[in-house]
């Protein structure tokens, strides 16, 4: 199970904590960040990129632009949290958790959204961590100390694509730093130690 992260924005302490507890119960590796108001929510988003956001649209007030932008920005990954079903502002969200929902309903809804997250991440999750041949090549280049631009030039792709590949690699392997990837590359015979010192 890869690490999976959620950001919850909800004003009610009890509801927020309850939801955190419920989600953590079923997935121990889950990381949850919380925000009680829009301001702290935005500041968390400034440095943190969650897989899924769960927000109570009521916090944003009716005329707030953000509430329309967020579901767009997070595409299928934004969930609304609401005290009642008949609210206009939740219609933009692909999924809504209601205060009255049972535990299993909530989990099912979150899982559905998580499913799409996993889907668009495209990895071979079921077969364990497998990185593609292309990704292996990129790990090799990273370990050899090439910059994104140099890798892009070698492979005739854009640097943007290289960045995407790197994100996927980091997510699949659970290794974030260049030196970590270098160790991985050596352990998996993608490169030799001698290559690095060239």
């Amino acid at each position: 199970m890869p690490q999976f992260s959620v950001l919850i924005c909800e004003g009610s302490y009890i509801v927020r904590k309850g939801l955190v507890k419920l989600l953590k119960e079923t997935n121990k590796t889950l990381t949850v960040r919380e925000a009680a108001d829009v301001e702290s929510f935005m500041s968390v988003l400034g440095y943190y990129e969650p897989d899924i956001i769960i927000i109570n649209p009521d916090l944003f007030g009716s005329g707030n632009k953000l509430i329309r932008e967020l579901p767009e920005k997070f595409r299928g990954r934004a969930i609304a949290l609401s005290s009642e079903e008949k609210r206009e502002n939740i219609s933009l969200f692909p999924q809504t958790l209601l205060y009255s929902d049972s535990k299993s309903t909530i989990l099912e809804k979150v899982r559905k959204v998580y499913g799409t997250v996993k889907g668009c991440r495209g990895a071979n999750k079921m077969r364990g961590t497998v990185i593609t041949e292309r990704e292996k090549l990129i790990v090799r280049y990273i370990a050899l100390g090439l910059t994104n631009r140099e890798i892009a030039e070698k492979l005739f792709i854009s640097t943007h694509t290289v960045v995407t590949h790197r994100k996927n690699i980091t997510r699949k392997l659970g290794i974030k730093t260049v030196s970590g990837l270098t160790v991985y590359a050596i352990l998996n015979n993608l490169i030799n130690i001698e290559d690095i010192n060239k």
């Binding site: 961590t129 290794i175 974030k176 730093t177 030196s179 970590g180 352990l187």
Partner: protein, 234 residues
């Protein structure tokens, strides 16, 4: 006090840094702190921030001096460099010496951890030599201000804003190292040692994370407050 340790044994680290020794019987937190010459309120503040990720000290914050906070943070730094890191290095070294078939892979782990420890030392050096003196100077200045009301002299070119910007993620490499050992290492001879190393890494990672949080939630707001005060006078 004993209840605290039972509730979260990671707090033992905090106690060590305050110079509290074990064997306190059934004495209360207040009592133990008093005996060790520590302000119990400050101890609790740190313990809470360490224990609960969501804990955010607010009003109480103003009561403690920067020098108290810095003193604690410095002790933590010292502990990392003098105890934790050498301990883990030692374990890896023993693993290497006992390993028969995968020595090379373990050497990689050792050098990777070496890189981490260099990174950590550099980070700590920066804080000890620039950030903390800056905070202390600011406090000293504020104190004199209250007494004499003199106009501010020039405070060295640093600011907490800069600190927040620079305060990078110190646990990334630890995270990588854990995954390398858990997922990608060839099977080593001594499982128990490998477990020890992993337990230590998990615990160091948590400790460093909690430590950074204390810096960000207790020291930073306090210093920013002083910065505002001073810029208000100018």
């Amino acid at each position: 006090m004993a209840d605290l340790v039972h509730a979260n044994h990671q707090l033992l680290y905090v106690m060590n840094r305050f110079g509290i020794s074990l064997g306190f019987g059934d004495k209360s937190v207040e009592h133990v702190c008093e005996e060790s010459g520590i302000e119990s309120g400050f101890f609790l503040e740190i313990a809470n921030a360490f224990h609960d990720e969501e804990y955010f000290p607010q009003k109480q914050l103003q009561n403690y001096s920067v020098s108290q906070i810095v003193d604690y943070l410095k002790k933590t730094h010292h502990f990392y460099l003098m105890e934790r890191v050498p301990e883990i290095e030692g374990l890896i070294q023993i693993m290497i010496s006992k390993e028969t078939s995968h020595k090379k892979s373990l050497e990689l782990v050792r050098s990777f951890f070496g890189e981490y420890s260099d990174e950590l030392s550099a980070h700590i050096k920066h804080e000890d030599e620039i950030v903390f003196p800056y905070a202390l100077e600011l406090e000293d200045f504020c104190k004199r201000l209250e007494k004499a009301g003199k106009p501010p002299s020039i405070i060295r070119g640093y600011s907490m804003e800069k600190f927040i910007e620079e305060h990078g993620d110190l646990v990334e490499k630890l995270y990588d190292l854990k995954n390398i050992i858990i997922k990608y290492m060839p099977p080593v001879d001594n499982h128990n040692l490998a477990n020890h190393v992993l337990f230590d890494l998990f615990s160091l990672e948590k400790d460093v994370r909690d430590h950074s949080r204390i810096e960000e939630k207790i020291m930073v707001p306090k210093v920013i407050e002083m910065e505002k005060l001073i810029s208000g006078i100018k």
